[in-house]
């Protein structure tokens, strides 16, 4: 686990997006800029394909676009906060907190365990609230790094 799941430059606290595709793209661009994704368009296509199978919106204002993709070099999380909300197909309304999970296609078990741990944390309301309340990017990254520990 030399590379952390998330760093402050993968957090956008004031994301403004027209729709879920746009929001996803902006987060992908963060991953691309950080060198964690080799092909932004290619990865975007993989995420879209996954989103098309079943919307990833969750109750409580969460959007969870994700994909396993050959364009991903290291398991990563990008977080965007959208004050205005973006529809992610959740039954109870638009998402204000968006997690983009990027998993390498050929990832071994250890790499993927950190993502499994992240997914498990996402279910906990306290975790989501603490992220929603976090004032800046550094705090978001710090909370995720502290809370998400593979079991």
């Amino acid at each position: 686990m030399s590379t952390p799941l998330i760093t402050p430059d993968l957090v956008a606290v004031d994301l403004v997006a027209t729709d879920r595709d746009d929001a996803t793209r902006q987060l992908i661009d963060l991953l691309y800029a950080a060198g964690r994704v080799t092909d932004a368009d290619g990865f975007h296509a993989d995420v879209r394909a996954r989103e098309a199978q079943m919307a990833t919106g969750m109750p409580g204002g969460i959007g969870l676009p994700h994909a396993r993709s050959s364009h991903v070099t290291v398991p990563s999380l990008a977080v965007g906060k959208v004050a205005a909300g973006v529809d992610f197909g959740a039954p109870d309304g638009p998402a204000t907190l968006i997690f983009l999970i990027a998993a390498p296609d050929a990832g071994d078990g250890d790499h993927l365990k950190i993502l499994a741990a992240l997914a498990r944390r996402l279910v906990h309301e306290s975790f989501r609230t603490s992220l929603k309340d976090a004032p800046d990017a550094a705090t978001v990254a710090e909370i995720v790094t502290r809370e998400v520990v593979p079991s």
Binding site: M54, L64, G107, L115, A116, R120
Partner: protein, 503 residues
């Protein structure tokens, strides 16, 4: 309560684990012990067999095929899909607890084709009727497949063992021959064994259909009147349409009687004696006296009308006979047309190009259309059919080719008017085409297995193919116009599994 669960999702990195966590947390909150096996991308650690053994029930929150599902065989389970577990874990836990308390028996390992036995009490009337029908149909399908394939195998063996007339002979070997003179070295004896066993299995089609429709409506009290009603439907020649009627009649009678307020002393014997006795008697009375008689006179009327038509335009006669064959698939109308053709064959001293042979060819070709069309439609447009129907579609190819129209009954019983209209049109076209191409047929049964006995076999096959394509196209169009609720629900569950498998 102790529960075990399996979670999985298409990507295997997010929902699988969210569902697991949500179920564990919701279980803890409700005071239940929940162990989840996450079948995700990070690899899955199988649940300890001791934990499975101790579990009261199983939750499948899986969008992919559950690995090693037979480990959980025999335990009450609910199958909810991964999304439901993420979004409403407490509801899923509550449903699982309810399932354990109700003792919902688990299906066998072949879960995809497992019968739909439980009907959603809150569903609308239309959906409920479909669910009742589908319950009957899904229990009937194995009988159709087993019986139909045995008969088809009997024809196949007869053709190899008995030459070109073997297929005609096999149907006339009596059961007593099998009991007294069965010779394991004689191919025709094996053919007869296969054929007779298949015929007996087929005898259960309508009773099972009727019985399990009644079971879906009224639960156990519906079984006896349902089965008996179905058997009477066969006896009076009312076919599967009669079986649908008896299924509903038996179910509602049993349900109604089971709600009577009776003195305490009688209550104990209600389910064992009173409900089956009364409901069965009423079903018998209605079927024999009220439904049986009109059907018998209808059949007589149709027969004499058909006999009067002989000599008129052959192509029109072919279209009419074809439509009759396709209408009720072994029911009274179909039987009149078939009997008309077979009786013609018995005429003494027929010329090789006699009209009687052409009528037989038209009837046989038309009778092959419905099962073939359903097989074709359920192959090219899987999404319009339930899992059970798709499975049945595979067997229907062989049944159709063997002139076993009953192969289409599960489809027709589940969705009568769309399937019957399509079958009617296609069969009618085929009947007319066979007359037009002038094929003749001197075997009363056998489908492609008696092809050597058919004159102009290519024309015959072409006519069958055209009718099949027309029927399949029609049923696809009609079903597309208004998709079935059950199919939609099934698809919602498998859409992801399918895509994931493809990816």
């Amino acid at each position: 309560m102790k529960l075990v669960a399996v979670s999985s999702c298409p990507t295997g990195i997010a929902h699988t684990y969210m569902a697991a966590e949500a179920l564990e947390q919701a279980g803890k909150a409700a005071g239940h012990e929940v162990h989840v096996e996450t079948q995700g991308a990070a690899g899955s650690t199988p649940l300890d067999p001791a934990i499975i053994a101790a579990a009261d029930g199983v939750i499948y929150a899986a969008d992919l095929e559950v690995k090693d599902k037979d480990r959980f065989a025999g335990k009450p389970f609910i199958d909810v899909g991964v999304k439901k577990a993420v979004h409403d874990a407490p509801g899923v836990i509550a449903a699982a607890v309810a399932a354990v308390e109700a003792g919902v028996p688990a299906g066998g390992p072949a879960a995809p084709a497992a019968p739909v036995t439980k009907v959603d009490r809150n569903a609308g009337v239309g959906t409920k009727i479909r669910q009742w029908l589908m319950t009957g149909v899904s229990y009937m399908i194995p009988f159709v497949a087993a019986g139909g394939i045995l008969i088809a195998l009997g024809f196949m063996v007869a053709q190899f063992a008995g030459g070109s007339d073997g297929v005609i002979e096999v149907t006339s070997i009596p059961v007593s021959h099998l009991l007294n003179d069965f010779n394991a070295t004689v191919g025709m004896d094996w053919a007869a064994l296969l054929f007779q066993t298949g015929v007996v299995a087929f005898g259960f089609l309508v009773p099972v259909l009727s019985g399990f429709i009644a079971y879906a409506i009224a639960d156990r009290p519906g079984l006896v009147p349902g089965f008996v009603g179905g058997a009477i439907s066969v006896a009076v020649g009312a076919g599967f349409l009669g079986g649908l009627v008896t299924g509903f009649m038996a179910g509602f009678l049993a349900l109604w009687i089971s709600r009577w307020k009776v003195p305490k002393g009688v209550r104990g014997v209600m389910p064992v004696v009173v409900i089956p006795l009364l409901s069965t008697f009423v079903v018998g009375l209605v079927m024999f006296l009220i439904i049986g008689q009109p059907i018998a006179s209808l059949m007589n009327g149709l027969s004499s009308w058909l006999n009067g038509l002989s000599g008129s335009n052959l192509i029109l006669l072919g279209a009419l006979l074809g439509a009759m064959m396709g209408f009720d698939l072994g029911g009274p109308i179909n039987k009149v047309a078939y009997t008309f053709a077979v009786t013609g064959l018995a005429t003494e001293g027929l010329a090789t190009d006699a009209v009687q042979y052409r009528i037989m060819a038209a009837v046989m070709a038309a009778g092959m259309v419905a099962p073939l069309a359903m097989a074709l439609a359920s192959t090219v447009r899987k999404k319009l059919f339930t899992h059970a129907e798709q499975e049945n579609g595979k067997a229907a190819w062989l049944l159709g080719l063997s002139f076993i129209s009953e192969g289409a009954i599960p489809f027709a019983a589940a969705d009568p008017w769309r399937v019957i209209v399509s079958s009617l049109v296609g069969s009618s076209v085929t009947g007319a085409l066979v007359m037009a191409v002038g094929s003749g047929q001197r075997a009363p049964h056998g489908g492609i297995w008696v092809l050597p006995l058919i004159s102009n076999p290519l024309g015959f096959l072409m006519a069958v193919a055209v009718g099949t394509v027309i029927s399949a196209g029609l049923v696809i169009a009609l079903k597309s116009a208004k998709p079935n609720e059950i199919v939609k629900a099934e698809q919602a569950a498998d859409a992801q599994a399918l895509v994931a498998t493809a990816a």
